[in-house]
């Protein structure tokens, strides 16, 4: 009912009678299975056989959220039941672990086919949280570490899958929780075992594979403030971080000035310089207005140079106007650019980007050009 990217082929009206009959058989078989599962669950027949029927149905239709709920109801019952292969009474840890493993396999196979299905991601999350209650901390850590590897594979297949990125942040949080020592004392710097450094490295790796990966740039912008706090970075280290990031984005801009992901990250770095930036989001805490001017002027200088090769790149003019606006907020008079320059940049934006004409008109008014 919400199909994406499926070509419009022959309509249902032109099916052959043979194809129609075949489809009717498929419908009957599917509906029989649905009815069977619903009946068994209504009767609370939470057996391994019913779990297998549920698996079969979910393989046919992983979007059927009620069936995932049924699965969790059955599993909750089975976790508490004795192992059928074992004569000892009471719940069996081995049995529960087998069930967990089988659900991890099921959801992994389904995610490969349906990487954007919310319900599969949810179930995986649920089963792992349950699994944690059966095992020791070390085993739980192993489970979540394997999960991080799985997400690595998912993001290798589609580096922009936002389910996978959100889940990655969630899994990292679970690993950090499990690695924290179980005392009420605040952990020392060494014991904190944060994954921020390795996650930051991961974004570097993803960006180097594909500069257009805005999901990776976004995550990087989220990690930087944490990274600096965890490193207990002083003024010098913070300035180095800012300069390194500006150098990285400068190279990226020079590689492909037409890619908007890169310019958004540039905007992020510029936003951390602003007086309006909340203290916790700033990269450098002790910027003077003189520092700010220097940064703005430096950015404008190399961005202007791109025009020598790419005079038809609208992002360049937009960035120049943005930096100029920031500059003028901290210092009214400047030799770096003139009002005439700004008017020229705005005219170029209007020429190159007529789709957004209304926005450029508004920008001209707000900059009083």
């Amino acid at each position: 009912m919400a199909s994406h990217g499926v070509l419009r082929g022959l309509g249902a009206g032109v099916r052959s009678e043979e194809a129609r009959q075949k489809e009717l058989q498929q419908i009957a078989a599917y509906n029989d299975l649905v009815e069977l599962v619903n009946t068994k669950v209504a009767e609370r027949q939470y057996t391994i056989e019913v779990l297998d029927l549920i698996t079969k149905l979910l393989n046919e239709n992983p979007e059927y959220y009620t069936i995932w709920n049924h699965r969790r109801r059955a599993l909750r019952y089975l976790f508490a039941a004795p192992d059928p292969k074992d004569s000892s009474p009471g719940p069996s840890k081995r049995h529960a672990q087998d069930l967990v493993e089988s659900d991890l396999r099921l959801t992994f196979l389904l995610l490969r086919k349906f990487p954007k299905c919310y319900w599969i991601w949810n179930h995986r999350n649920w089963i792992l949280r349950i699994a944690e209650s059966f095992v020791q901390t070390a085993e739980a850590r192993k489970l979540w570490s394997e999960e991080l590897q799985l997400i690595g594979k998912m993001l290798h297949a589609d580096s922009r899958n936002f389910h996978a990125w959100s889940y990655r942040r969630f899994v990292v949080a679970q690993l950090e929780r499990l690695q924290a020592p179980a005392t009420s004392e605040p952990p020392s710097r060494e014991a904190r075992q944060s994954l921020t450094e390795s996650e930051f490295e991961y974004t570097t790796k993803m960006i180097k594979t594909n500069l257009s990966n805005f999901s990776a740039w976004h995550n990087r912008s989220e990690l930087i403030p944490r990274l600096l706090a965890e490193r207990e970075a002083g003024s010098v280290a913070r300035r180095k971080m800012l300069d390194d990031e500006l150098a990285l984005i400068c190279t990226a801009i020079n590689t492909d000035p037409f890619d908007q992901s890169i310019w958004y990250y540039h905007q992020y770095l510029m936003s951390t310089l602003s007086l309006d930036c909340p203290p916790q989001d700033r990269i450098v805490h002790d910027l003077s207005n003189h520092d700010r001017q220097k940064y703005y002027a430096h950015e404008m200088e190399y961005i202007r140079e791109i025009l020598e090769d790419e005079e038809d790149c609208k992002w360049v003019y937009e960035a120049l106007l943005h930096c100029a606006g920031c500059y003028l907020e901290v210092e009214g008079g400047t030799q770096a650019f003139t009002t005439r320059d700004m008017r020229y940049w705005l005219d170029q934006l209007k020429r190159l980007d007529p789709l957004r004409k209304g926005r450029w008109d508004d920008l001209g008014r707000s900059l009083k050009l």
Partner: protein, 336 residues
């Protein structure tokens, strides 16, 4: 918008063919949706049935054919999805969930059927309101979709949408929900599914619209988010959902309604977008697809038509950019 010919110069019928909306075909397409029981797809999409009814009914209202589905049958079906706990499932026998509860309430509001609800289910409105209110996380202010606990800004929006339509917003902590949305804001002015998540046009719609219901649009960085949203328009006129992604008709709603809520509709080229949406129609059997030449579905059909309504395509009924329902229905429910 310049698609409109001036008075006396011919109406929609005189439009060039690429600007024509096939109203009658879309109406017939939507009417046909419940007759396709000999297609496996009909059964595989049962988990979307109540959403589908909301999408289809809303499209029909915007097309100016509010009576194309039998009112009594629609109300009976909606109420057959209502559980004792006040939540709606996707279809009879499906578990209750926020996503369907919102659709159920939206359909009842559109059909002006809250009185019928009370007649058939005593205290129905309050039950539904309580189901929704119980899904708010008292610590963070956001909402879960159901008893299994998945949280997402989609559910937060759904909660405020349905509760406000029923006049029951007081059942939840709106200030806490607002604070949660603020914690999802990113440097680009956009919002994600949860704090730290990448900006995404669908999620931006839910957050901006939720803030609009709460009367707190002042918290949105209008220029920054407006700029980001305007960059979703690609050369072919279509809109994408995130940087460097493909265009898709459903973003004609998520992006465009957010621009409307921020008073920045003029920051994109509406004429080009309208032409793109119209290219995604199936000119023979009706319905609108994600992209030209693809299979149509009722989801893209309603969001394409709602987008055209925001663009003031001639002959369409005015849509409300916060609720994706006819503006007249919202005026009646909210008294404004």
């Amino acid at each position: 918008m310049s698609l409109v010919s001036g008075p006396g110069r011919g109406g929609v019928a005189a439009m060039p063919v690429e600007m024509r909306l096939f109203v009658d075909k879309h109406v017939r397409y939507i009417q046909s949706l419940d007759t396709r029981k000999d297609e496996l797809e009909y059964w595989l999409t049962e988990h979307l049935r109540l959403n589908g009814l909301y999408w289809g009914l809303t499209a029909l209202h915007l097309l100016g054919h509010p009576d194309a589905l039998a009112r009594d049958e629609v109300i009976s079906f909606v109420l057959s999805c209502l559980h004792d706990n006040g939540g709606f499932g996707a279809a009879p026998g499906h578990d209750p969930h926020m996503l369907y509860t919102v659709s159920g309430v939206q359909i009842l509001a559109t059909l002006d059927a809250f009185d019928e609800l009370e007649k058939r289910v005593t205290g129905g409105r309050n039950k539904i309101g309580q189901f929704i209110a119980d899904l708010q996380d008292p610590e963070t202010g956001t909402f879960a979709g159901d008893e299994w606990g998945e949280q997402d800004t989609r559910f937060l929006y759904g909660a405020l949408n349905a509760l406000s339509l029923m006049g029951l917003l007081h059942l939840v902590n709106v200030d806490k929900a607002v604070a949660y949305i603020q914690s999802c804001a990113n440097f680009d002015g956009g919002y994600g599914t949860s704090p730290g998540a990448e900006s995404h046009s669908g999620q931006i719609f839910t957050c901006v619209a939720a803030l609009a219901i709460a009367g707190r649009l002042d918290l949105v960085d209008h220029d920054r988010l407006g700029a980001w949203l305007s960059e979703r328009q690609l050369k072919n006129g279509g809109l994408n959902g995130r940087p460097e992604k493909k265009e898709d008709v459903c973003y004609s709603w998520w992006v465009l309604s957010s621009l409307a809520n921020l008073d920045r509709l003029h920051w994109i080229d509406g004429d080009k977008l309208a032409v793109f949406i119209l290219q995604c129609q199936d000119p023979e059997l009706g319905g609108i697809a994600d992209r030209p030449g693809d299979m149509v579905d009722v989801f893209h059909t309603v969001f394409g038509i709602a987008g055209l309504s925001l663009l003031k395509y001639p002959g369409l009924v005015e849509v409300d950019p916060v609720y994706c329902m006819p503006r007249s229905v919202i005026k009646k429910c909210l008294g404004k």
